[in-house]
């Protein structure tokens, strides 16, 4: 045996390599079958980050199709409702540089909006109901419609089909319940205050932190 190997080193090496290749090939093949993952988990993760307004501003018919598109290599900055936060999260997830929002698909709204139907003017055509991806509009033919504000994502899709233009997108006003503290101005923006004569011109901070 050893003699044979010693006499035919090249053939022996080839045989050994082929043997190894077969063994590992079989192992990999088995692993591919045994640990097969159904579907594309990355799409699920991307979809979880998207705001689910289903507004179609990205050019895809809903958030999941866009998630699919991102997974297939589309740009991650096409989602105005999600804004920069979503882009950052997507960039984090996909380990890419976070681009700024592509203005072509719309601007990030400063405040969220909800649809509001001026009920006096509603003719009960049900067009907005059919347009709403959230089923957030209630009503029936020839009956006044109304928006379930809690379910409305502010996607805008109901505005265009309305034949009497009785739908407004109204900004959601902050109530005392959902008010939150603002981030203080960044320290580099406060640098101007370092000059003694500029003191007091800058923003006066909340008292709570000072002692």
């Amino acid at each position: 045996m050893l003699e044979t190997i010693a006499q035919h080193p090249i053939a022996a090496a080839l045989l050994a390599l082929i043997g190894l290749a077969l063994v590992f090939g079989a192992l990999l093949g088995f692993a591919a079958v045994r640990f097969k993952v159904e579907g594309d988990p990355i799409v699920e993760q991307i979809d979880n980050l998207l705001p689910q307004t289903q507004c179609g501003q990205c050019g895809y018919p809903g958030c999941r199709p866009y998630a699919q598109a991102i997974a297939n290599g589309d740009a991650i900055n096409k989602c105005p409702p999600g804004g920069q936060t979503t882009i950052n999260e997507l960039a984090d997830l996909l380990d890419v540089e976070a681009p700024t929002l592509d203005e072509e698909h719309g601007e990030e709204a400063d405040v969220p909006t909800v649809a509001f139907i001026r009920e006096d003017e509603c003719i009960g055509c049900t067009k907005c109901i059919q347009a709403c991806p959230m089923d957030a509009i209630l009503g029936a033919a020839k009956q006044m419609h109304t928006v379930i504000a809690d379910e409305c994502t502010g996607c805008d899709l109901c505005v265009e089909p309305c034949p009497v233009d009785c739908i407004d997108m109204i900004p959601v006003s902050t109530t005392i319940k959902d008010w939150k503290w603002e981030l203080p101005a960044a320290s580099h923006e406060q640098a101007a205050n370092l000059i003694a004569t500029d003191r007091g011109r800058g923003q006066i901070q909340q008292s709570g932190e000072a002692a």
């Binding site: 936060t85 959230m134 994502t153 939150k180 981030l183 205050n193 901070q205 000072a210």
Partner: protein, 844 residues
């Protein structure tokens, strides 16, 4: 006096205490303000629901807003008065926003509802006590305003072994609890005892007080003498008054991140709350007033006061000589954790432990923030052992995930880090903002998940609806196919039954094809019927000719369909098609031997027989196969119509024969008509032959007839008979007919030759008869004088009218569907007859 071990907390700071200013004077009281503003949300949890109406008189202690759910607290009227409004009003909140408030115009009488004191409160039932605490609207007076009833009713799986009453009051300036402990130590001790009982007498009941309040410690110790309550003092350090910190100091146990103290068997209550609970149970007093520290160099008088909840801050400040110019700002709470008030119109609420009106010197505006130098002082100061500079970093970058992994939510926002920061960075503000951001993010996430579910559900629903529709469509299609198949089977069965003797049912395998062909035939017959319909109404013969052409086209279609049908089902085709043909031929032959009138009658009779037969067949089929009723009925009606049309044609046929036989009732004429009739009948018979043969024989017969007619005419002329003219006319007629027939047949030949099949005898022979007859008539008309023509017309019309009337009568008897059509036909004929008679009269 038992001594217990006191632990230390990590971090912490020692800011100037500034507690002496407000402790110089004893507890003060201020007058009832003219107006009280009661926010419905003075606690953590759901806002209370106002249950009073504007203009309503309320007494002190009356509930004005009811707790909405478990996590809520009642709001009571602190004194008597009238509800002035329930409006959005500025409330003490860092946002400076408005919230619903019940505003009471006080009447100064301070009339109260009858309270129900419990002498035996200690013996009361657990649930009753909890209920009264709840009814009295007691919420934590320490700062957060947690509804006390909830806190005192821990979950069954939380065994409480330690009750801690928090008298720490670690924040600078605030002395409200200190004053309470000095003034009402007995209330606190009694309250502590009842709380201990509520919590099933935990092993340790501790009142913890910082060592900077020796007088309070003394008083409380004295009051607690003879009880199991431990009054523990420990070194002053900010923020040892925090619930979690105090628990750590007194028990050495840490509350796990994101958990409540009850999970480690501890319940913590503020001394103020404890006293309020005692008063609520013992005297039935709801929570309508509290002790608040009013302090700051901008005030002339600094002290603790007992103030009605809802008292506007400006009223309190006015009572203490507030100097607006001197004040740097107005803070509710202490300098470490309080917040600046946007306006002095906000009221004092359940959680207001201090009103701080510092001078500019006392509390200068914050220094401008500089860059973080990573000195780590904040980390040393943090009582929660967090990494403030890292949190600051991530908060700036809005890296919410990292913030959470660095346990941002364990931050108690004590402000120790900001206090020690050499760069004056408002760290707590960053954390508060970041917390708000994360909470918002969570809400958004929840909403987006809900949105996704709704969207997916909607998609599913739409898909389902589509699928249902599709399924219905398929089911309908299938049902239609099945029905067709059945129909075809039954149709195949019906003729087979009718001609069972001749043709055994042999078409089962080709049912579908047959059904298709039958449909084709039916539609062709339908169009034929349509083409025929206006024929009865037509006045002139030219029009009739056109109609005839149309009919012929339709007939061709019918014959084609019939042919195909016959081809596919030879047995049936012959049985269904040839049988009547043969019968017709026989009958035609029989007719040849009769005299013309008889012949006509026989012909009508035969047609009627056929009609009857068809009707019976339809009726039989209807009876036997009710599911096929519609199709067969239609078929029957079609047959009826066909036969009616045939009758009409026969009626048309009658005049040229009956008119001569009536007006010139001599033998030669009748003979000639006889011969012509025979020829017609022969032609009819020949229709069932091959088309080219048929055509040729038809032409031959016509030539023969012409010869005969010419002979007769010649003899008549020789005899000098007055019939000669008429006979000559007949000859001309025949000639005309021959030419036209030749033309017709030339047209017909290519198609019929191609078809190579016998036509439907029922339709084609009758129709071709009508055509020939119409043509002959047209030819005759051409040769006649106007008067003669008119007379002829009158005669024919009379005959037709008679026929039509008899048909109408019959139809009336049978209650035929086409009764109306018959009636209109009769009336039209009558009109026509009248018109023609008039014309005739004019000419004569």
């Amino acid at each position: 006096m038992e001594l217990i071990k006191v632990w230390d907390i990590p971090g912490g700071v020692h800011p100037p205490e500034n507690k002496h200013q407000s402790m110089a004077e004893p507890l003060g009281y201020i007058d009832i303000p003219p107006q009280l503003i009661l926010p419905v949300s003075q606690h953590i949890g759901a806002p209370a629901k106002p249950i009073v109406s504007v203009g309503q008189k309320v007494l002190g202690g009356e509930v004005v807003a009811e707790a909405d759910g478990v996590f809520s607290a009642n709001v009571h009227a602190p004194t008597s008065g009238t509800i002035a409004a329930i409006v959005e009003h500025l409330v003490p909140h860092p946002s400076g926003m408005r919230d619903t408030c019940v505003i009471i115009d006080t009447d100064g009488k301070d009339e109260w509802v009858a309270l129900s004191p419990w002498e035996d409160f200690a013996e009361r039932d657990h649930d009753d006590i909890i209920k009264r605490i709840r009814d009295c609207g007691i919420a934590g007076l320490g700062g957060a305003g947690f509804p006390s009833a909830v806190k005192l009713n821990p979950r069954a799986n939380h065994t409480i072994d330690t009750l801690i009453i928090n008298g720490t009051e670690c924040e600078p300036y605030i002395t409200a609890d200190d004053m309470l402990m000095r003034e009402r130590a007995e209330d606190i001790v009694a309250g502590t005892q009842i709380l201990a009982r509520l919590l099933h007498n935990p092993a340790k009941v501790i009142i913890g007080i910082e060592d900077n309040k020796p007088e309070a410690i003394e008083r409380v110790r004295k009051a607690a003498e003879g009880t199991d309550i431990l009054v523990v003092s420990f070194p002053t350090k900010y923020p040892s008054g925090g619930e979690k910190q105090l628990i750590q100091i007194l028990t050495g146990r840490e509350v796990p991140s994101g958990q409540i103290p009850a999970t480690i068997g501890v319940v913590c209550q503020n001394v103020g709350t404890t006293a309020a609970i005692y008063r609520a149970l013992r005297y039935g007093e709801p929570l309508v007033k509290r002790i608040t520290t009013v302090v700051g160099e901008a005030l002339e008088q600094q002290r603790n006061i007992e103030v009605l909840l809802g008292t506007p801050v400006h009223y309190v400040l006015d009572k203490h000589g507030f100097n607006d110019k001197k004040a740097s700002r107005l803070v509710m709470g202490g300098p470490m954790m309080g917040f600046a008030l946007p306006d002095t119109s906000v009221p004092v609420v359940k959680t207001t432990n201090c009103l701080l009106a510092p001078s500019k010197k006392e509390l200068p505006p914050p220094e401008p923030a500089m860059a973080c130098i990573r000195c780590g002082m904040c980390a040393e100061a943090c009582p929660a052992e967090l990494l403030p500079q890292q949190l600051f970093w991530y908060a700036q970058a809005e890296d919410l995930e990292k913030l959470e992994t660095h346990n941002l939510f364990d931050c108690i926002e004590c402000g120790a880090c900001s206090y020690v920061c050499p760069s004056h960075i408002p760290l707590v503000q960053y954390y508060r903002a970041a917390k708000g951001e994360i909470r918002q993010h969570r809400i958004d996430k929840e909403k987006s998940d809900r949105s996704r579910r709704r969207f997916e559900f909607r998609q599913e629903r739409i898909a389902k609806e589509e699928a249902e529709k599709e399924a219905k469509r398929l089911a309908r299609k299938k049902a239609a196919e099945e029905a067709k198949k059945k129909l075809a089977e039954q149709k195949a069965a019906a003729p087979a039954e009718a001609s069972a003797a001749q043709a055994p049912a042999s078409a089962v395998d080709a049912d579908k094809q047959k059904a298709k062909l039958e449909r084709l035939l039916a539609s062709a017959q339908e169009s034929l019927k349509k083409a025929r319909e206006p024929l009865a109404d037509d006045a002139t013969d030219e029009q009739r000719e056109k109609q005839a052409a149309r009919i012929k086209q339709a007939e061709l279609k019918v014959s084609e369909a019939q042919k195909k049908l016959n081809e596919s089902h030879p047995g049936e085709g012959t049985s269904a098609g040839n049988d009547p043909v043969a019968a017709a031929i026989e009958r035609a032959k029989a007719k040849q031997t009769m005299d013309p009138a008889d012949k006509l009658r026989a012909s009508i009779e035969s047609l009627q027989k056929r009609l009857e037969k068809a009707e019976q067949k339809a009726a039989d089929a209807e009876r036997d196969k009710p599911d096929m009723a519609d199709a067969l009925k239609q078929g029957a009606i079609k047959l009826q119509e066909k036969i009616a049309a045939a009758k009409q044609e026969l009626a048309d046929l009658a005049p040229p024969k009956s008119a001569p036989s009536q007006s010139h009732s001599e033998k030669p004429v009748s003979a000639s008509t006889d011969a012509a009739q025979a020829a017609i009948e022969r032609a009819k018979a020949k229709m069932s032959m091959a088309p080219d043969e048929k055509l040729r024989s038809s032409l031959e017969s016509l030539y023969k007839r012409l010869e005969k007619a010419e002979q007769k005419a010649a003899t008549a002329q020789q005899e000098g008979s007055d019939k000669a003219e008429a006979l000559q006319q007949g000859v001309d007629k025949l000639k005309e007919k021959i030419t036209s027939t030749q033309k017709e047949l030339a047209e017909l030949t290519p198609t019929t030759v191609a078809e190579e099949t016998p036509q439907d005898p029922a339709t084609s022979d009758a129709a071709s008869l009508a055509i020939e007859k119409a043509k002959a008539k047209a030819a005759a008309m051409a040769t006649m004088s106007v008067a003669d023509k008119l007379r002829n017309q009158v005669d024919s019309l009379e005959a037709r009218l008679e026929k039509a009337r008899s048909k109408l009568a019959q139809a009336e008897q049978d209650n035929d569907d086409n009764l109306d059509a018959f009636k209109t036909g009769v009336s039209k004929l009558e009109d026509k007859l009248a018109a023609t008679r008039e014309q005739l009269a004019e000419h004569e």
